[in-house]
Symmetry: C2
Subunit: 269 residues, 2 copies
Amino acid sequence: VVRVRIDLAYDGAGFHGFARQPGDDITTVQGTLEGALRRLTGQDASTTGAGRTDRGVHALAQVVHVDLDPTVDRAARFLADLDRTRERVDAMVGPAITIGRVTEVDDGFDARFSAVERAYRYRLSDAPRPDPRLRGLRWHVPAPLDVAAMALGAFHLEGEHDFAALCRRAEGRHTVRRIDQLAVVRAGDEVHVTVRGPAFCHQQVRSLTGLLVQVGRGRAAPGRVAEVLASRDRAAAPAVAPPHGLTLERVRYAPPYPDAPPEDLEAPR
Amino acid sequence: VVRVRIDLAYDGAGFHGFARQPGDDITTVQGTLEGALRRLTGQDASTTGAGRTDRGVHALAQVVHVDLDPTVDRAARFLADLDRTRERVDAMVGPAITIGRVTEVDDGFDARFSAVERAYRYRLSDAPRPDPRLRGLRWHVPAPLDVAAMALGAFHLEGEHDFAALCRRAEGRHTVRRIDQLAVVRAGDEVHVTVRGPAFCHQQVRSLTGLLVQVGRGRAAPGRVAEVLASRDRAAAPAVAPPHGLTLERVRYAPPYPDAPPEDLEAPR
């Protein structure tokens, strides 16, 4: 078999998340991509992704791999000219998905397990009169956010902790994670929460953003973040932030595999 | 009567244009706004707008005026606290419309006829792999745009001309217009066509953008712009650019009336 890596970006608004669902009569990013690959290669194209983004969450740096049998005629054509293949897949998946690059990789590469770091950005706006054209990208909070307080709160979450209070429960999954950096910065009328670490549990970034927004609005002191974390009790955390403010922006791979997004994907703004 | 000025911004994607349509069983920005005003004031709130943006076109600087009878109870309440009124109207019109400001004006102000200049921005992207989250704001052109050639072409359109070749025909309307500035600038992976003048004919900005994109793609020389203009023949012009790349960004008023958008509306990006 030949292993192929596909780097892609998507607007999560129209999808029920990244991961293909059993039955698949709903629209997922993975299902849409696999449908296109099946039509082009004539093979059952089962993909593995770097990160399972939830319904409504965006990505600029999603990565999948897929194994193809090059002895099959259509797959051979698929593999012969990967630039042309990129264009064909890109046209088939529709405008909400951009195929950034299609490359052949050795079988040491695994889109999920070779990833050593994921980085997300959560985009908030506290403008009193927000630009309505950007409402699909940001969570609009109708009150000024105290970024210094949010940054103080964020400090408690860096490092390795049991994030049970900030993870959606999943049977049998442990909740210890490491956050290497959690930054809160203002960018004009926006406030960005950026986080990077090896891997995150389900809804972790949206949960911690929901908590930091409580701090930013003055409804909780920065020290409350440490208390919620120490409680290991999901009921202690406020509601998770809505999905549309969140984007998977970078995935780092162990050498020699290049990071995502590829350089020729438009820089995030 | 008391005249009220309302400054608003909207994402044009979900609307069949700004202008209320006869029958009104489709969703327009003006119809949505007037419905909210009617419910709040108990009066037939007929508004006049600064610019009739087409279906799909956005605005950061739309302005309307409406006349209210202050002796009617609900209208008196509407007028008594215009900050609170702004919040109530804003909540009623939904997230695709942002109400920037509600102010009382003298009857010398007319949202349409007091406007002395309108400015539009058409946003293009020629990134090979565009950010899919921004596809509702820009026309993606799948080839590099030669901005210098576009700027040369644009030069022919500045000043006063008969724009018959670049106006959608309207019975009995003359097509002589003045363009005070038409600029083409690159901003990273985007190319912006910005234009300002006292007033524009129907589809003028989208028509000239369609023509300039032909020049930017090398399908027409810059001098072709002068030829198309001189022909006064709409058939000589290429297809109009799609509406979703266009935003009405500024309306200037004769003193003493302030320009739109109000300063507290989020700055365009």
